[in-house]
């Protein structure tokens, strides 16, 4: 299946540190998106990167995409306790209207 694998599964850091999460996928994509999910809540869209883009920024977020390696990374700089959540990558491929989500990284930012 197209489902992405995320690495690491869990990450614990101190406030102020940077957090990096990685996502790998299997087939060609149209775009890749990152979502955040607080415990017991719905997902919130963070950033979208198209297949012809290599890097994108949004506030403290930096996303890179390497289509040759079929991988993406999400960097959160100067993390805050409020960044504690699960982060999922999701890929859109082909002509369909759907996303396939990765397995997620649980980030814990401690004070």
């Amino acid at each position: 299946s197209q489902q992405g694998e995320e690495d690491p599964q869990a990450l614990s850091i101190q406030e102020g540190e940077n957090a990096t999460m990685n996502c790998s996928y299997k087939t060609s994509i149209n775009n890749l998106q990152w979502y955040r999910q607080n415990s017991g809540r719905g997902l919130v869209h963070l950033i979208l990167i198209r297949s012809n883009e290599r890097e994108k920024h949004s506030g403290r977020l930096r996303v890179t995409l390497d289509t040759s390696k079929k991988s993406s990374s999400l960097l959160i700089t100067a993390s805050r306790a409020a960044d504690t959540a699960s982060y999922f990558c999701a890929t859109e491929a082909g002509g369909g209207n759907k996303l396939t989500f990765g397995t997620g990284t649980q980030l814990k930012v401690e004070l």
């Binding site: 017991g40 719905g42 997902l43 198209r50 002509g95 369909g96 209207n97 759907k98 990765g102 997620g104």
Partner: protein
């Protein structure tokens, strides 16, 4: 504020007793999705509607049905819930096809417990 609303937030049903989860949106989006998410797992797409066109995922059990009576509302019906259907059910919308680079907007989810 425009949003995706799911009711109820928590639903308890008995084994084999039909249950309906509801989703409404004020975003006027064309596409509505239903996902199942089990603990510590990725959301799994069950089906989606593009306007009135229903698109079922190949591995979605027949036990799961959906209705979209109008643009704003979409329902998930579980005809005979089993213990394995206990999960968080997430509704999402997007303005148009995801392939056009549209993000999905998620509701808060309904946590289903089967006793």
């Amino acid at each position: 504020d425009a949003m995706v609303i799911q009711n109820p937030r928590y639903q308890v049903t008995q084994f084999g007793k039909p249950v309906t989860l509801s989703c409404s949106q004020t975003l006027n989006h064309n596409v509505m999705y239903w996902y199942q998410q089990k603990s510590s797992q990725a959301p799994k797409l069950l089906f989606h509607y593009y306007d009135k066109d229903f698109n079922n995922e190949a591995d979605t059990p027949d036990n799961f049905q959906s209705r979209r009576p109008n643009t704003s509302f979409c329902f998930l019906d579980i005809r005979s819930p089993g213990l394995g259907d206990a999960a968080m059910y997430l509704c999402a919308t997007s303005r148009d096809a995801a392939g056009k680079g549209n993000e999905q907007y998620f509701g808060p989810g309904t946590r289903l417990t089967v006793t």
